[in-house]
Amino acid sequence: MSEGLVGILDPDGKLLEGQKVPSINRKDLLRLYRVMLLNRRVDERMITLQRQGRIGFYVGSLGEEAAIIGSAFALKSKDWIIPCYRELGAALLRGFPLFDLCCQLFGNEQDAIKGRQMPNHYASWKLRFGSISSPVGNQIPHATGIGLAARLTGSKDVALVYFGDGATSEGDFHVALNFAGVYKTSTIFFCRNNQWAISVPRQFQTASRTLAEKAAAYNIEGVQVDGNDILAVYSVTREAADRARRGEGATLIEAVTYRQGGHSTSDDPRVYRDEKEVQEWIKKDPISRFKSYLINDGAWSEAEDASLEEQIKDEIEVALKKAEKIGPPSMDTMFEDVLDTVPWHLEEQREELRASQDRDSAQQDRQPE
């Protein structure tokens, strides 16, 4: 268990004393920045879209972009990401197209999951980006199983699972870490400690001093990192992945960050938390911090930034417009994928629905103009 919060940059994006910048080439540094900004702007746009009633719901990651994207960047493309529901940045970094995201938000015919889940519950087999479920913490043991399967089959693949501070109270968190410790699985447990589980603050989840220290009970590695410092997040996650690949087992990473927005569009955090606290954290914002670092480093400029903003805005609008025009999936698909084939009782229920649809549309046709 490492002691203390790992950090590389200060809130102004300056190198902390005695710290070294991890070796990331300039192209990748700029890609990371681009995805962070894209993540932020997509979130903002979709929250507006929800307010306009064009999508039903949205979960953003405002303020947590460094934790999400820095950790995903530390993985290889064959490694598995088992998401919670706030990791759009990790999907975008792996190349999840904005158009696919928009189709999922609308639940339309091009949606890869066929309109079966509420917004933000996308999945991508191709990107090794797991299927999202809402119950908190359920996904954590899956990453233990993947890490175990990798070990048993002699593969070097690593599974990284995301969850929030609230999930550390769930039984599934504890069984997952316990199994990972016993079997030395190739798993990275990545906790986004954003301080709030809807309206319940971190100190009501656990009396532990840190979340990272819970690793000690399972004899796995535990580390607490400044979750708003993308270089530090990358660095500790990379170390955890290397350790897993060497067969040295699992790591619990606690990324200390802050949920700048509501839990979701259904939430109003003004009711339960002090706006001053939010403002304090905005000063430590991960994107402006990384931008300052890049500018100080001579890798980026305000002019380039302005042009990137325009580019991103256009990209989002193009994807949205295209996706919004697409109709819903065929209702027939509703009965598919329950099992690998459609059994007789579902076929019968599908017929029942078809018949009622035919009657409804026949009645609509008879309506006077």
């Binding site: 889940q117 087999w125 043991p141 199983g145 399967a149 994928d337 690998d340």
Partner: protein
């Protein structure tokens, strides 16, 4: 052909599939060196090693949760839950995760696995070693549910379940583990899931049942034939979901009378579903109400276990009521 019991048939099936497919792994409490508390995995650890057969920490949610990850990765886990009464900590993982993975990901991710668990009463196990919770799983979209009643079916159904691409809940009637013996071929074979079997042909009345109750129903059928000259047809469901409605309806059309027998409690039990399904399809063929002989709607009792379980007397009464109606 050797005569073996259900425990040996399960063991045979596991061994055959582990030999055929190296993605098949067994995990659970005490399944390793010890071979399971019912000995169903006996010898497999020694034969296949600790990477294919391994003990787990004592946490059902962890067993199933990890097995889901392994299945996602491409393995074919066959986790054992020591007694089905202890499956509830894993209920969330089964119902919300394993069962929903294919659907919610649009068919991108799948979760092929077989959760084996000893089920049912009759071994003086009291409330926590006797339950029959099949209805919870039959009610859950995304699962198949299987329950054999004899060694031959146990082997063929378990092999079919392991080869199936869906999560399967495989319930083993523990009171029959050693009590039911029968001839089982050495070689591997498959019994197609979703197919019931007419285990006794009859003309006057149909008994629909499964698991440990098949035997009891057969005994009652013999007595009814001898004492009352009632010709009873007995159907062993074998797969509870998707269930074989065609075999039931064909029998009902012949006999026009039905008794459903199961150990599980009555209210919203599987019998309720069968009864409604028969009514929807064959009401005018029925000469009598559909009678249910089931466990009572109480927690499974210890002292009065044999009075709780459907027995020959209660089934005979239902058969006579059905005939006399």
């Amino acid at each position: 052909m050797p005569t073996i019991n259900i425990v040996q048939a399960v063991n045979d099936a596991l061994r055959a599939e582990m030999k055929r497919d190296d993605r098949v792994v067994i995990m659970g409490e005490d399944v390793g060196k010890f071979g399971g508390v019912f000995r169903a995995t006996q010898g497999l650890f020694q034969e296949f090693g600790s990477d294919r057969v391994f003990d787990t920490p004592l946490a059902e949610a962890g067993i199933i949760g990890s097995a889901i990850g392994m299945a996602l990765y491409g393995m074919r886990p066959v986790p054992e839950i020591q007694f089905v009464d202890f499956i509830y900590p894993a209920f969330d993982q089964i119902v919300n995760e394993a069962a929903k993975m294919r659907y919610r990901s649009g068919g991108q991710f799948t979760c092929p696995m077989v959760i084996r668990a000893p089920s049912g009463g009759g071994i003086k196990g009291g409330h926590y070693h006797s339950q029959s919770p099949e209805t919870y799983f039959i009610h859950t979209a995304g699962l198949k549910v299987v329950m054999p009643s004899n060694p031959y079916d146990a082997k063929g159904l378990l092999i079919a379940s392991i080869r199936d691409d869906n999560p399967v809940i495989f319930l083993e009637p523990k009171s029959l583990y050693r009590a039911a013996r029968g001839e089982v071929p050495d070689e591997e074979y498959v019994i197609e899931l979703g197919k019931a079997k007419v285990v006794r042909a009859g003309e006057d009345i149909t008994v629909v049942t499964y698991g440990a109750m098949v035997r009891v129903a057969l005994e009652a059928a013999e007595t009814a034939e001898e004492e009352d000259q009632i010709s009873v047809e007995v159907i062993d469901m074998r797969t509870l979901l998707p269930f074989d409605i065609d075999t039931i309806i064909a029998s009902v059309k012949k006999t026009s009378r039905v008794v459903i027998v199961h150990e599980a409690p009555r209210t919203c039990g599987f019998g309720a579903e069968l009864s409604a399904s028969i009514g929807e399809r064959a009401l005018l063929h029925l000469q009598a109400p559909i009678f249910r002989v089931t466990g009572f709607d109480i927690p499974f009792p210890y002292t009065f276990e044999q009075d709780y379980l459907p027995n020959e007397t209660r089934i005979l009464k239902a058969l006579r009521d059905g005939m006399d109606f």
